[in-house]
């Protein structure tokens, strides 16, 4: 600043001695830089305040600008740049280029966030909205943006449902509010609402900002789809008056399995099998499978995990061209992403193109287009492959002596050779995806704007699979091919009217009225055939299979029609009020319940703008209190659930198929929305000019009329009926701090921390039911009034039956003929025996106590370093893989714990004996602590100095190295603690052996031309 003052003085002096001649045009040049680092600011906007006619100018890649004006000196300039405080500068002549330094603006109230159907300054919000810091996401190797959201903001839990390339995640915003309906948030991509996607088809590099709407004041504008939170994604666009910029981003990396599961080697397995056979038939001796000398000769045997997993490559390239003139701005990008899976023969690749365009036709009319066309290819892993990799005995070999594949597990538990399945089965999915949205905005009169938008989302995916005849999987069908295809099409029309009004200077209003409609249409078909003469044609000639499998097809459609309105009001920028209302009509509900109403109100008080607060603003620069209440809905139940549909079935008369139709469901005209009432109170504070920002939220959500598949007596002919029953609550606390610890020229350090606690409780299940259990052979969950969702249910292990205890404790083994070495279980119902069906209790919970993340960013000279730590604490996981690995039958490989199993000479009290016939019992033995803390990402970057870049003829060059998931602290014994087998709330935290999440190391480069 001092420099500028000196200049001004000098310039003023100069003016006094020189008679300025009036010229037609004054040309001003200058440079805009960051006040701390001195780096040029690219794209800052400069206008002449005193000349309305003159065009503004943007700074170029060196931060320089040139302006011309017909007005005479002195001139008042105004300079603006996103994230910086705008400044006014008086210019007295144009003899020198002016140097303008901008101060970064840390005040959160000036941050602009995208909300439903508009955008607002953070200071004006009455709702809880979190903005994701994209910086930390950029270097995480993730095929989809939503998988990189883990730890990004408070109150959002992200768990992968598959670690496969392009695999999905399950996201919970402020806990789970639905038991059986969907719990995933609604995504709004450039204004287009999308539900139930993996988003691996979108290029994360295209994203400009992600805002997560959490409380009802923010989400109620999305009505029947707002209950699970809303994730608003905005993609990159150019800026008006911005020079064309070409940016290349590229990275290459390698991914590895985080850890292997400890299973037995060949010698240990052979001993186990000997023990199991001996246990069944002691008369045949202790070496029924292999003799001791044969065992000694075995060695380690086949390591099936080593054979299946690999170091996998990942590459990514993106080229973006963006820029703008005075009436147009644009961004065009293309990207290619190619990721091999850590399981051989799996992978994912993606081509994307995007064009965003914004045109000011005249003062009144603006047109915009956002177009995204992508193609993805996935090589899928065979289903259940993780389980068979672990269970395949190490004594089996991948290949027979003649070089052909070993067909299957040679023992009683028959399953295919997993390596043959991985290598030879072909299962490819190709998807074409278009998301396009166009709008016209017309300012009818001043501040009254009509916006009409049309959009379409087209997704066509085709799956092709072939199982060759020469591996076990395809042996019985003699080659099996199938092709299936699904077409999803959704169109959207949104018409909104907004009006800004200021009354008597201090009252400002913003009105929104809207009418929207969205229709989703899905069609699918599948065909296949078996019994091939040759395996060469794969799925490309279904007619050459002699046995045709039943073809299938289906079609469905659902529609949503909505009316919406919102008023934002503020008085003197101190008191804010906001109210919204949306009315949704959904085809999915019963004829009596088609329409739902979703209101919200919110208020906030900007304390720092009060006069009495002035003395404190030196320390507390911003302070804002928020409170809101609103109603949102959930309609994720699938289509046609209220109708008494019929389904077809087949029987055979005279060896020919006959088609039958039977009733599927009892109709329910009363079927309606799930309704969530949410209360939120929050405080946002900025200290020391925004160097320390704190945000605190408490919320209470109560969801009523749960869409529950209520069990009904089987005597009706049906098992269940979807009804509105019961309620669930979530309450929680979210805390976010961000701090600029150092902002020196050479060294800077900032920290972000967030932590969130959510407590979930089932309040009522309806129909007088207190609890219900969902279970199959592998897992069991209980949903119980007064308890949270996601409770594991099962038996409780109580030691191992020892010699001499058969008479006294044998009845606690659940075995017909108990023997020493059997696991003992607690007799929970107290009837004197253990029965696996009735002696069950709650044995664990899948919901965490809290989640947190901590990010530290450092810059030192040209280096930048970012460390991102994320933790989930207090949840439990059901290790399904271990459960099957602890069946010491000798018919399949076993967990490493088998080394310490009960034998006549090793009276273990924790690990059972080997036996041919173990019954799988879901017990607390397989419930493990799922707590983890992991370094999600470390990135070290270096930005080359001017000397190098000008030598290379480019504008900037940054290189970086990053590690994703390099270090994890956890006691979980499975592949990875970030795991869940599905999106279903009542069944979360079950690790059925999903494709493991990898850790990866990347090297990348960012070049601006």
């Amino acid at each position: 600043m001092k420099k500028t003052l000196q200049q001004i003085l000098l310039q003023a002096l100069f003016m006094l001695v020189t008679v300025a001649s009036a010229t037609a045009q004054n040309v001003i040049t200058g440079r805009v830089t960051d006040a701390v680092s001195g780096d040029p600011l690219i794209g800052a906007y400069v206008i002449v305040k005193t000349d309305k006619e003159a065009e503004g100018a943007s700074t170029d890649l060196e931060g320089k600008f040139t302006l011309s004006t017909k007005k005479e000196f002195p001139l008042a300039l105004h300079i603006e740049f996103v994230g910086y405080r705008g400044v006014d500068v008086d210019v007295y002549d144009n003899s020198d280029a002016i140097e303008i330094q901008l101060q970064e603006n840390y005040r959160f109230i000036d941050e602009v966030v995208v909300v439903g159907y508009g955008q607002q300054k953070k200071g004006d919000l009455t709702g809880a909205v979190s903005s994701v810091k994209l910086g930390q996401m950029k270097s995480i190797t993730a095929s989809s943006f939503n998988s990189a959201l883990a730890g990004s903001v408070a109150g959002v839990q992200v768990t992968p449902t598959s670690g496969a390339p392009g695999g999905g995640v399950s996201i919970r915003v402020r806990g789970s509010s639905s038991v059986q309906g969907g719990n995933e948030p609604l995504y709004v991509i450039d204004g287009f609402p999308v539900y139930g996607e993996t988003f691996s088809q979108l290029n994360p590099g295209d994203i400009e900002s992600i805002n997560i709407l959490k409380d009802a004041s923010a989400t109620a504008i999305y009505g029947s789809r707002g209950a699970n939170g809303v994730v608003i994604v905005t993609t990159k666009n150019g800026s008006f008056n911005q020079k064309t910029q070409v940016v290349y981003d590229g990275s290459i990396g390698v991914q590895n399995l985080r850890k292997k599961i400890d299973v037995l080697n060949a010698r240990e397995f052979a001993q186990l099998r000997n023990d199991a056979l001996y246990d069944t038939n002691p008369s045949l001796g202790k070496y029924q499978y292999l003799s001791q000398s044969e065992i000694d000769a075995l060695g380690e045997g086949t390591d099936w995990q080593d054979a299946a997993f690999r170091s996998a490559r990942v590459t990514s390239h993106q080229l973006t061209v963006s820029g703008g003139g005075s009436n147009v701005r644009y961004s065009i990008s293309g990207s290619y992403f190619d990721q091999d899976g850590i399981i051989r023969n799996t992978g994912f690749s993606r081509f994307t193109t995007r064009a965003n365009l914004d045109i000011k036709l005249n003062n009144k009319l603006r047109l915009g287009l956002s177009f995204n066309g992508n193609k993805t290819d996935t090589d899928n892993a065979p289903s259940g492959i993780i389980s068979s990799l672990l269970l395949m005995p190490p004594t089996a070999t991948i290949y027979e002596a003649d070089g052909s594949y070993t067909l299957r597990n040679p023992f009683e538990n028959v399953f295919a050779n997993p390596i043959a399945s991985i290598n030879e089965r072909i299962d490819k999915t190709r998807r074409y995806y278009v998301l396009a949205n166009a709008f016209a905005e017309w300012e009818i009169i001043k501040n009254l704007r009509l916006k009409v938008a049309f959009g379409a989302n087209i997704s066509n995916s085709k799956n092709k699979s072939y199982v060759p005849s020469y591996i076990y999987d395809g042996a019985s069908s003699n080659g099996s091919a199938s092709i299936s295809s699904s077409d999803a099409y959704s169109w959207l029309n949104e018409n909104t009217l907004t009006y800004d009004l200021r009354v008597k200077r201090h009252h400002s209003f913003n009105f929104l009225l809207g009418y929207t409609q969205q229709v989703n249409i899905n069609e699918s078909f599948g065909a296949g055939s078996n019994d091939y003469v040759t395996d060469d044609l794969l799925y490309n000639n279904l007619a050459s299979g002699s046995v045709i499998t039943t073809p299938s097809s289906s079609a469905s459609k659902h529609a949503l029609i909505s009316y919406l309105g919102r008023v934002n009001y503020n008085f003197r920028e101190r008191y804010y009020l906001s109210a919204s209302l949306r009315t949704d009509g959904s085809s999915r509900f019963g004829s009596d319940k088609k329409w739902g109403v979703f209101p919200s109100v919110g208020a906030s008080w900007n304390v720092a703008n009060e006069k009495f607060f002035k003395p404190y603003t030196k320390i507390v620069s911003d302070l804002k209190a928020r409170i809101s209440y609103g109603v949102t809905g959930n309609q994720e139940i699938g289509n046609y659930q209220s109708l008494s549909t019929l389904s077809s079935s087949r029987y055979l008369f005279n060896e020919e198929t006959a088609i039958g139709f039977r009733p599927d469901r009892i109709s329910n005209a009363e079927l309606g929305w799930e309704t969530t009432h949410q209360y939120d109170a929050g405080i946002d504070a900025g200290l020391f000019g925004g160097r320390l920002n704190i945000s605190l939220d408490y919320y209470y959500k109560k969801t009523e009329d749960l869409l529950l598949d209520v069990a009904i007596p089987w005597t009706s002919g049906y098992s269940s009926s979807l009804q509105n029953y019961g309620s669930v609550s979530n309450k929680g606390f979210e805390f976010t701090v961000s701090s600029k610890n150092f902002t020196g020229k050479k060294f800077s350090w900032d920290t972000q921390f967030n932590i969130s606690f959510n407590r979930n409780k089932v309040l009522e299940l309806g129909g007088g039911v207190d609890s219900y259990i969902t279970s199959n052979m592998s897992y069991a969950y209980i949903v119980k009034v007064g308890e949270p969702l996601g409770l594991f249910y099962g038996a409780v292990v109580d030691g191992v039956l020892q010699e001499g205890e058969v008479e006294t404790k044998g009845k606690y083994t659940g075995q017909g003929t108990p023997k020493p070495g059997d696991l003992l279980y607690k007799d929970i119902d107290g009837d004197g025996t253990f029965v696996s069906a009735s002696d069950r209790t709650i044995i664990g919970k899948a919901q965490p106590d809290f989640l947190f993340s901590l990010t530290n960013n450092f810059t030192y000279a040209n280096f930048d370093l970012s460390i991102f730590l994320h933790g989930v604490v207090g949840n439990e996981l059901h290790n399904g893989t271990k459960q099957s690995l602890e069946l010491f039958s000798g018919q399949q490989n076993a967990d490493g714990t088998a080394r310490d199993r009960w034998t006549e000479t090793n009276a273990s009290n924790t690990v059972p004996r080997a036996k041919l016939d173990p019954a799988p019992v879901v017990s607390n033995r397989f419930i493990e602590d799922g707590t983890f803390v992991r370094i999600k990402n470390i990135t070290l970057g270096y930005t080359f100095g001017k000397r190098i870049t000008s030598l290379l003829g480019i504008n900037s060059l940054r290189v970086y190295a990053s590690a994703t998931n390099p270090i994890t602290w956890t006691s979980y014994s499975g592949f990875d603690p970030e795991v869940t087998s599905g999106n279903n709330t009542a069944q979360q935290g079950y690790d059925s052996g999903i494709y493991p999440v990898a850790k990866s190391y990347n090297f990348g480069v960012n070049i601006k031309f």
């Binding site: 009683e412 028959v414 009409v452 019985s476 019994d531 949503l560 085809s587 020919e656």
Partner: protein, 492 residues
């Protein structure tokens, strides 16, 4: 110019709105029917009743495709859970430690009532089809087919569970009054079964080729005779059996092996069979793979259904009994490596389909549920109870024995006591109908003492009087306050 532009813009926007406002909230499922649009024509009537047949063996473990074996027959002296029957519930039934939460038994209940629901829907709705759209003959036939199938299932239910709810109309509202049904007494259930079967006696006695496999008048009469027999209404049982015999529509195959021949399905001896066809977009008979061994390379058997050797069935056959080699196999040549595998125990073999070696899940061999041999044995048993072992009773049993290639009873045991003759008939049933879903009923018909004695002797010491019934599924008791557990099963 400006006004023109504004007008133009407004018009464009309005037009856009008009085009767009075509989203519709009324649901019209594209790929499934809604009940309001169905049950209007003769074709609909046939489809409605076809769906009831389809409930006999839908895909997965279904009543007549293995569930009967897994959930019922395991609790007898002749069968046990094989090495690859991993389900704890199945193993529990096999060793008679099952409880009211046993999922296989729950499935039997659930699937039976699902079939009854579809039968009720067919009976209710076919009656409402306008006369212009359906011939009276077709209307009666389809309704009676549905009644036959409903009776068949209630007959199972009443024998398995005792007093069960008697649901006779489609339940189409969700209120508790309709859902929480009460149990009928066994006598009421039997009365309804008899009524349905009497109606079903009006079914055609034969069908044209394309309808081969549908329920016939003979099928209704045979089941009715068995219903009488089970209730110890000996006279009526004998009379119904005799009607079937006298009508002459059925006779024994000359060779027992033909009972399980794909070429001879639904002919001669077969009165009512559960239809299977592999690799034909339908279903294979999964008993074939469930009983096939896994040791011989290339057979890929499941071996989940095992012969309970201790029961002594295998040894009880005479060596010359033709049924021995049809029903069992003791050694097998691998279809892959040609090696001979001597099996550690005899395996059931009647459903093994040689056209699908290595993929027995696709076996096309029907399950011959009701056949003429049983008519003869019902007749013999009923006559014996009425008048002792008469010559006619002897002849009925001996027709079956002679066909099996073993000496006639009349020749080797011509003067049996009534009790000894009864034992012989039951013994014949056991050998004739092995692995065909009859054993549990036959044991239970003879009472608790006999059942317990037989099972204990067969190495299943847990058998107890309560096992003459299965427990009402716990889930049903939990959901429906009107249901009561079978008294024998309270506290188990």
């Amino acid at each position: 110019m400006k006004i023109y532009k504004i007008l133009n813009n407004t018009a464009a926007v309005l037009a856009a709105l008009a085009i767009a406002s075509c989203a519709e909230l009324e649901e019209k499922p594209e790929s499934s029917m809604v009940s309001q649009q169905f049950y209007n024509t003769e074709a609909d009537a046939v489809a409605a009743v076809n769906a009831v047949y389809a409930d006999l063996n839908p895909s997965g473990q279904s009543i007549y495709n293995s569930l009967f074996q897994i959930g019922v027959e395991m609790a007898t002296d002749d069968y046990m859970a094989g090495p690859r029957a991993r389900n704890a519930h199945v193993r529990a039934i096999s060793s008679l430690i099952h409880d009211p939460s046993n999922d296989r038994m729950q499935e039997l209940w659930r699937q039976s009532y699902a079939l009854i629901k579809d039968a009720n829907a067919a009976i209710d709705h076919i009656a409402e089809i306008p006369a212009t759209n359906i011939s009276e003959e077709k209307r009666q036939r389809t309704i009676n087919e549905a009644k036959f199938l409903r009776a068949l299932n209630y007959f199972n239910l009443v024998r398995w569970f005792g007093d069960v709810p008697l649901v006779l109309h489609e339940i189409s509202t969700l209120d508790a009054g309709h859902l929480n049904v009460v149990q009928a007494t066994e006598a009421e259930v039997y009365a309804q079964i008899e009524q349905d079967l009497k109606d079903a006696e009006n079914l055609p006695s034969v069908y044209t080729a394309s309808d081969l496999g549908r329920a016939t008048s003979g099928a209704a009469k045979t089941v009715l005779s068995k219903v009488y027999l089970t209730q110890k209404k000996w006279e009526q049982a004998a009379q119904k059996a005799k009607e079937v015999i006298d009508e002459g529509n059925y006779r024994l195959f000359d060779d027992y092996a033909d009972v399980f021949s794909v070429d001879k399905e639904n002919t001669v001896e077969h009165i009512f069979s559960i239809q299977f066809k592999g690799n034909a977009n339908f279903r294979g008979n999964s008993l074939a793979s469930r009983s096939a061994p896994y040791e011989p390379e290339g057979v890929n058997g499941d071996y989940a259904d095992e012969l309970n050797v201790a029961g002594g069935l295998f040894q009880s056959y005479r060596l010359e009994d033709r049924r021995l080699e049809v029903n069992f196999i003791t050694q097998m040549v691998s279809p892959v490596n040609g090696k001979l595998y001597v099996l550690s125990e005899p395996h059931f073999y009647m459903y093994y389909d040689h056209s699908v070696v290595g993929a027995q899940g696709q076996s096309s061999i029907n399950l011959p549920l009701i056949r003429y041999a049983e008519v003869l044995l019902i007749y013999a048993e009923a006559l014996n109870e009425i008048e002792g072992p008469s010559a006619v009773a002897y002849d009925a049993v001996d027709q079956v024995r002679r066909r099996a290639g073993i000496p006639a009873l009349a020749e080797i045991e011509p003067s049996l006591s009534q009790e000894a003759f009864r034992d012989s008939v039951f013994e014949e049933r056991r050998k004739e109908f092995v692995y065909q879903y009859h054993r549990w009923f036959d044991l239970v018909r003879r009472g608790a003492d006999y059942y317990i004695k037989t099972l204990t002797a067969a190495g299943k010491p847990n058998a107890a009087p309560r096992h003459l019934h299965f427990p009402i599924p716990q889930r049903e008791i939990d959901l429906n306050p009107n249901l009561k557990q079978n008294p024998d099963w309270v506290n188990y």
